[in-house]
Symmetry: C2
């Protein structure tokens, strides 16, 4: 039965992401960071620990945009049911509490038969600062 034992490797991976807050790390980066701290851990174990944390909902996975890139993982900011918007430039993450989002979700259900999973959806785009920088 999985998850029966508590190990220092599992704990270390979880602790690393907790420490990093909203930062997005690849599995490789996590492995490097832990190794740099002197922890003896294999890359395979890092992958497995991350996979588990994702299943538990503690981490969120961002698919790599370009082929050859690695997936990025981030502490799941909150599991509350509301949408998140994420700046593709600076990585900033914001929470969307508004009627319009609720209304849009309802529209998807009613007219498209699509049940939006807010916990898994992240809207990508440019935040105000990055958008204005880009215009220059």
């Amino acid at each position: 039965m999985r998850g029966a034992y508590q190990t220092k490797q599992q704990d270390a991976v979880a602790a690393l992401f907790n420490r990093r807050g909203e930062e997005c790390l690849t599995a490789e980066e996590a492995y490097q960071a832990l190794s740099a701290r002197g922890l003896e851990i294999g890359k395979t174990t890092v992958y497995r620990a991350i996979a588990r944390l994702c299943e538990e909902g503690a981490l969120r996975r961002y698919a790599p945009q370009d082929s050859g890139d690695a997936a990025r993982y981030q502490l799941n900011p909150c599991r509350e049911s509301h949408l998140h918007i994420r700046c593709v430039q600076c990585g900033a993450l914001a929470h969307l509490h508004c009627e319009e989002a609720e209304a849009f979700k309802k529209h998807l259900t009613l007219h498209h038969g699509f049940e939006l999973d807010e916990g898994q959806t992240v809207l990508s785009g440019l935040c105000e600062q990055c958008a204005s920088k880009k215009r220059k």
Copy 2:
């Protein structure tokens, strides 16, 4: 200088996507479809033709959500961007053409200063079939 010659392989790949309309194909699927039509073409060439069409803006690329999956490509219908909804259960991808999505996007811009990038955003959730299956 690239793009100097017109070849039947390049034409066939472009024609295939044109024929398929809004359908999303993987490179492998495109390769299979072309081979089935009796065209002699290598998989490498399919990859290269698709890459070129993406650079030209003729195709749009969707990054694979799950590791191990392949990227999907779709005819870019005259730059008209729209949101996509993806079923986390069966993987089905659908295109969202509706006023409500446009209105929601506008709302994000006006009230949240967030410029939604429809090309990079995929709404996750359950499609009609999978949702009804789950209810049982």
